[in-house]
């Protein structure tokens, strides 16, 4: 177990290193003066030279990278402390809701294939699969936020304590629903395969043959075994989920890593934007690492080499 954990942690660290190095190279490859960009359009040439020196841009490339990395890590950590929690709340709640719904739908579909429910749900997930997240978000805002006035059309703002827990919860409903709806379609397909495979397997026949009650067969054997591939899928789709988190934060006007990134990029504030790129990379890579470790902990069949 320890060796597996160490290997996965090293792999994740390597990936993060490559991602930040690629970001750095990308910035260097652009036909811009980084210092001039960071200094803004109204800076004098002296200010640009001064800033270039402060940013370490007058040093050789490898040193520049280390300099850049050190600065990015410190400023990125500060940004992450402020903006990562709201993004992670949305990501976490959205994926939990999506996973529960997808699991329930997939289970009924697997139990009653070709039933009316199965066909209807297949069609709905088919259609949801092809809906852009901003379109789903818009429809939800229009129906529940503007026509019916049941829920706030904008997401919660940065400080949950200032608005009270109930307002925060109300504000989170539509963003979480949007994220869940755009995710359920793909997950249902995968979960269904996993559940069908579990239902067909020999140990289920054994469990039934030895006279276990059906509930116990389902909960202990089918669901637990189908949970493992579900963890893998959730881990793998983390980057795709984050794509949607970016749009959802933007459309609901919520502060977070994604909306801050878009704001920084549309305002050409590359100092902040690059830090956010690295932070988002770190968050998704750590998330995948966590999913892998969870899988390893949950599956007794994995041999740790």
């Amino acid at each position: 177990m320890t060796r597996y954990v160490v290997r996965r942690v090293l792999e994740a660290a390597f990936t993060l290193f490559v991602v930040s190095f690629a970001t750095f190279l990308l910035l260097k490859a652009m036909p811009y003066n980084l210092a001039a960009l960071s200094a803004g359009p109204r800076a004098t040439p002296e200010m640009v030279v001064q800033l270039a020196h402060e940013m370490g841009l007058d040093k050789p490339l490898p040193l520049q990278f280390l300099f850049w990395l050190r600065q990015t890590l410190s400023t990125g950590a500060a940004l992450a402390a402020t903006y990562a929690p709201p993004s992670l709340e949305l990501l976490g709640l959205g994926s939990v809701v999506a996973a529960l719904c997808a699991f329930a739908i997939a289970y009924v579909q697997a139990k009653r294939p070709n039933s009316l429910f199965d066909r209807g749900m297949s069609l709905i997930t088919f259609v949801l699969f092809t809906f852009p997240s901003f379109w789903v978000g818009f429809v939800l805002i229009f129906i529940f936020g503007i026509q019916l006035l049941w829920l706030p059309a904008a997401g919660p703002n940065l400080d949950p304590s200032s608005q009270g827990f109930s307002n925060w919860t109300l504000g989170m409903i539509l963003p979480v629903a949007t994220l869940a709806l755009t995710t359920i379609a793909t997950w249902t397909t995968y979960f269904r395969g996993a559940i069908e495979e579990a239902l067909r397997s020999d140990y289920i026949r054994t469990a039934r043959a030895k006279g276990l009650p059906e509930n116990q067969v389902i909960v202990v054997h089918v669901l637990r075994n189908a949970l493992l591939p579900a963890i893998t899928i959730a881990g793998l789709s983390l980057p795709t989920l984050f794509n949607n988190v970016i749009v959802i934060e933007w459309i609901f006007g919520m502060p977070g890593l994604g909306s801050s990134l878009v704001l920084a990029l549309t305002q050409f504030n590359y100092g902040v934007a690059v830090d956010l790129v690295v932070v988002i990379g770190a968050v998704t890579i750590l998330g995948s690492l966590l999913a892998d470790l969870l899988y390893a902990a949950a599956d007794p069949r994995i041999h740790f080499v």
């Binding site: 990936t15 490559v18 991602v19 970001t23 990308l26 910035l27 652009m30 811009y32 066909r119 297949s122 088919f126 259609v127 699969f129 092809t130 809906f131 852009p132 997240s133 901003f134 379109w135 818009f138 429809v139 805002i141 229009f142 503007i146 026509q147 793998l236 980057p239 795709t240 984050f242 794509n243 949607n244 970016i246 749009v247 933007w250 459309i251 990134l261 878009v262 990029l265 549309t266 050409f268 590359y270 934007a273 690059v274 790129v277 988002i280 990379g281 998704t284 890579i285 995948s288």
Partner: protein, 298 residues
């Protein structure tokens, strides 16, 4: 009425299987539904502007935000521009750039996947490590960063999206290539003196074709969604109008209840994606040998 024998001999190898698959494809309802939707959408965006008199760029503040009526079938936006005329023209670039980007990304992915899966060992590990790194980051993030740095430009946008989204296809193709490569017939062909390139193109590629079709439809959906997302937040396709920017530009009007300026581009995206997805499902069913026996999926 031409010579029936000559092409028959040449096509002997494939003609045994292909017509059956084609018939299966033509029997599939989703093929007709998806095909009809896509055709209608293409006619709407590319032929529609030829027949529709109103000019999408002409604005008239006197008629701003009119609800749908006979003179303006989809109403007008906040500048008094005809929504229907704009919607037609606005579809051209998302569709064209989506297909180009998806095809380029699929070609890169197929190439990398075939090479990685066929060569194995070190080449495979290195290429898969690279795809892992690509897949570990939200794809929208590098696209947003590069687009912001390069400035709005349709050609660079298509390139950047293709270069970011190929790894998903590479993974799928590589997985199947690994399986096909280990089958006895590959060894037999190699033993009879065929080169690796020939084996790869003539024997491995046809066997992973159904996966490639699935990979392509997924790739297309992914490309269109990512393009829509980046354009929606303001960093993708540059002006003039396209569906995502129409959506983003008009979204503030929903507060006043003017749904007609936002629903049409949204539905247009859905129709485009649903039609390609349906077509892909139909082709997958037709090509999948396991469905040939009993699998009566709808």
């Amino acid at each position: 009425m031409t010579n029936p024998a000559a092409p028959g001999v040449a096509a002997q190898r494939t003609s045994v299987r292909l017509p059956r698959k084609l018939r299966k494809l033509l029997r599939h309802p989703l093929f007709w539904v998806g095909g009809a939707m896509l055709l209608a959408l293409l006619l709407f965006t590319f032929l529609g502007p030829v027949f529709d008199p109103p000019d999408g760029n002409k604005y008239d503040m006197a008629i701003q935000l009119l609800p749908p009526s006979f003179s303006h079938l989809l109403g007008t936006n906040v500048l008094g521009q005809d929504e229907l005329a704009q919607l037609m023209v606005a579809g051209q670039r998302p569709i064209i750039s989506g297909f180009i980007s998806a095809i380029v990304a699929a070609l890169i992915g197929i190439f990398v996947g075939l090479v990685a899966g066929y060569s194995g060992s070190i080449v495979d590990s290195v290429l898969m490590r690279i795809t892992d790194i690509f897949l570990s980051v939200p794809q929208v993030v590098p696209i947003l960063l590069i687009e912001s740095l390069l400035g709005a430009n349709t050609r660079s946008f298509i390139t950047v999206v293709a270069l970011t989204l190929w790894p998903a296809t590479a993974r799928i193709v590589r997985g199947r290539t690994l399986v096909v490569r280990q089958q006895p017939f590959v060894e037999a062909v190699l033993a009879s003196g065929a080169s690796h390139v020939r084996v790869l193109l003539r024997h491995v590629l046809p066997n992973v074709l159904d996966d490639i079709v699935v990979a392509f439809t997924n790739q297309f959906a992914n490309v269109v969604l990512v393009m829509a997302i980046t354009t929606f937040v303001g960093l993708g396709l540059p002006p003039p109008w396209n569906w995502a920017s129409m959506f983003a530009g008009n979204i503030d009007n929903i507060v006043g209840g003017q749904w007609w300026v936002v629903y049409p581009p949204g539905f247009a995206f859905s129709i485009l994606l649903v039609s390609v997805y349906f077509l892909g499902e139909a082709v997958r069913h037709a090509l999948n040998p396991q469905d040939a026996q009993g699998g009566q999926g709808s």
